[in-house]
């Protein structure tokens, strides 16, 4: 298994073969990739739900109107950009915002994006769906 901090670095060993997922180290998180990760409506929905929940959620906790493979793709983009962490807990893959890392690297950015998303949803009359804040 690999647990790389960036694609350019060689994989390193871990105590849980096949279970850990690749995450960028905080120092390798790039603004452009974070903005790209946040620029998709489905991924923005996930981030808003994670921010509203305050903790970990499984993918099935955030219903998206897309296929399971597309859902997996969106979570992977968020993880590889450093926006979320994904951790196996038993048979579930749990997702959480990397809020501390993002707030330290890009102060205020995530909060302004979340506020802007809320305001836009209000203007457009959208809802976050079942389980939303």
């Amino acid at each position: 298994m690999t647990f790389m901090t960036s694609p350019a670095r060689p994989p390193t060993a871990s105590a849980q073969p096949g279970r850990a997922l690749e995450h960028p180290a905080a120092a390798d998180i790039r603004l452009e990739e974070v903005l790209h990760a946040l620029s998709d409506p489905m991924r923005l929905t996930v981030v808003r739900r994670l921010a509203g929940g305050g903790g970990e959620l499984s993918c099935s906790d955030v219903p998206l109107p897309v296929t399971k493979s597309t859902t997996t793709h969106h979570y992977r983009v968020l993880r590889e950009a450093g926006v979320i962490s994904q951790t196996y807990r038993g048979t579930s893959k749990m997702n959480a915002l990397r809020r501390a890392d993002l707030d330290r690297l890009f102060p205020g950015l995530l909060d302004r994006v979340l506020e802007a998303a809320d305001a836009q949803a209000g203007r457009l009359g959208e809802e976050l769906g079942p389980g939303g804040p």
Copy 2:
């Protein structure tokens, strides 16, 4: 010529055929498209320069290490997302940030992105290039 506020709307007439460029109306600017427009290093460079300059700049005022057609593409993405306005002044196409629209729609977002970009450039030891602030 067309001067559309969004691709879904029919073109309307203008007094300057072939000279005006399509811009979304403020109400049609979407957060996801703005974030996408800002998620490219070249486009972020342009936005930082426009923000630093405080007014209008031509494309040639912001040297980018890409071809002219790629440069044109990046400016078009920024314009169609509602991040910049592009206006012909004589033979020059002048670019300006739509800061008032963005600040009204997404309060604080552009400033946080600019601060984050500055901080990241500082961390990575990057410069804005000739003419940068």
